[in-house]
Subunit: 342 residues, 2 copies
């Protein structure tokens, strides 16, 4: 069990290490806490804390840095989410308070705002697309050459794609196809829709609108795209600030990974409702063992859950980040509730 003084020392050490980035020695701690003891005493305590595995040295005569266990303990027991400033509150309200138009916009703007507020990298994941149900399908003839297909889901996403109007198609064919889709596909999950598109629908099309097969392929691709879950990421360049000595090769793989929806979904826990913090190796990803990942979820009314994640250095300003995330997520859930109520 840790003594009170050890707690103060561990807390100070992590705070100091986070703000300076350097290993922290006994004198520094003495000068930055109100502990009434000499540096020698603090050295003894540090040695004790090291034996217990909360801190470690970078070399035999260096100051200490927190170990993974130290961070873990800090986050679980010492760290307090920090109150956010009025400024921060204002920007959150500015983004989430105004009239929201579309799910994708909200997610995009949220990622942007969070990366700005934290100065880390922010990732916002939409609810898993697998469970989305098709609520509407429309084909709209734009001009002689172009048709727009629009699909809507119960998760609030609206997607569209424009494609060339095949030559042998006229308006009435569009109506026929639209009707086929609305009769047979609306209400099903997108996964089911794609399956049906491959099995049943080609038959129907051939029967009722035989000249629409060409167009059918384009429509199929819209649906395939729509089953891919959406991710929004912002502040990728901040990695350059908080991870200065990363080599270009690693950086390149990292950035490639961060652009890959699948990678992000498997990285980020979408189940746990509270805050999940994974530090270094805990993330279990070879590119991220020098990073920390804070994950939390938000509710899309009662249609499902999305996730928010902040990627930063292990020596992250956890207190501030938690504070921001907490306020943000509550406001986001509220905003989405209203969005679906209206």
């Amino acid at each position: 069990m840790l003594t009170k003084r050890q707690l103060i020392i561990l807390d100070a050490l992590i705070r100091l290490n986070t703000s300076t980035g350097n290993p922290i020695g006994s004198k520094t701690i003495m000068n930055n806490t109100d502990i009434k003891a000499s540096s020698a005493t603090i050295r003894n305590e540090l040695s004790e804390l090291e034996k217990m595995g909360f801190i470690k040295k970078t070399h035999s005569s260096s100051g200490r840095i927190p170990s993974l266990k130290g961070y873990r303990f800090y986050i679980d027991h010492l760290m307090k989410p920090q109150e956010v400033t009025q400024d921060t509150l204002n920007s959150i309200n500015a983004v989430l308070g105004t009239h929201v138009q579309q799910m994708d916009d909200i997610m995009h703007q949220s990622a942007q705002l969070l990366s700005e507020l934290t100065q880390y990298t922010a990732i916002v994941l939409g609810p898993k697309a697998e469970t989305s149900r098709l609520t509407g399908f429309k084909l709209l003839s734009l001009n002689a050459n172009h048709v727009m297909a629009i699909i809507q889901t119960d998760k609030g996403t609206i997607e569209n794609k424009v494609f060339r109007m095949p030559k042998n198609i006229n308006e009435s064919d569009l109506v026929k196809v639209t009707n086929i889709f609305n009769q047979h596909l609306v209400g099903h999950t997108l996964i089911e829709v794609v399956q049906k598109l491959q099995r049943d629908i080609p038959l129907l099309i051939r029967k009722y609108a035989s000249n629409a097969t060409e167009m059918f392929l384009s429509i199929e691709s819209v649906f395939k795209e729509s089953t891919e879950s959406r991710h929004h990421i912002s502040g990728k360049l901040n990695i350059l600030d908080f991870s200065e000595n990363i080599d270009t090769k690693k950086l390149k793989s990292l950035y490639t990974m961060l652009d890959n929806s699948g990678d992000l979904y498997s990285l980020i826990d979408q189940i746990n409702d509270g805050f999940v913090v994974k530090i270094g190796d805990e993330i279990n990803h070879n590119l991220l063992n020098e990073f920390s990942l804070i994950t939390t979820t938000y509710s899309v009314s009662n249609y499902g859950k999305g996730a928010i994640a902040i990627l930063g250095p292990t020596s992250m300003a956890y207190g501030e980040t938690f504070g921001v995330l907490d306020v943000f997520r509550k406001q986001l859930t509220r905003t989405l509730l209203e969005y679906y109520l209206e």
Copy 2:
């Protein structure tokens, strides 16, 4: 005037420097050309070339690297666009040959392909939006809560935006507003449209569809967005490969710049029809004085011109890059011609 041997030496030096990245000495040139002369002779020639300003030393006893003037001369007189491989040809055809759906897609895929083929950074700019004319406007009610606004231009761009349906609006209001827009705005340039939106239209709306003013603001924002010219950029991460020792601060500003449409448009010459190569300081941009920028244009049928640019190191593989760009641009122009003909 340069002697024949000097030309061979300059050419070899630039090729060797490009492929190795190192300064090139007299022996290296001797071993990599079929010049029948000793290294001493070549040293004399190098010394001569240096006096004329085509090459320079990195320090008093180093090998030579091309100077800006050397590159200039090479590009203007020595470099030959290289034949592209069958593989390259195939990938270009795969992207540009298949049925193309939308301008934005073409541009996006073009950037992607070019960055892959060259291993540099590819930028594709659409025709300047200022000259685009509105050819179609549609309002589509998606469901009780959402309306989609769609605008089309004569440059082939189709943009849309979804926004909340104001509560006091019904289908017939949508029709009214659509009619107002079609009567008064179609045929005008987007710039004019935005002007009119601020002057004339509010009056009309107030007169014929007074409860639509709220919606009007949303529509206005769609148009404002549409006047922003489109850029597509790909292979940004390749900068990490060809510019290894760039510091993070510069890199961050550079990446920020490359995401800014305005910056790119002012950087890239959209007027000169041939190939324009700017090297180092010639680019006249403090972030790019260690880069080369190859620019060329493509015709969007007879609706205007867009631009393609490749950003790479000054020691670029000019021959290959020119070869690829030349083939690509011809095929692109052809593809776009068909796109508008059909």
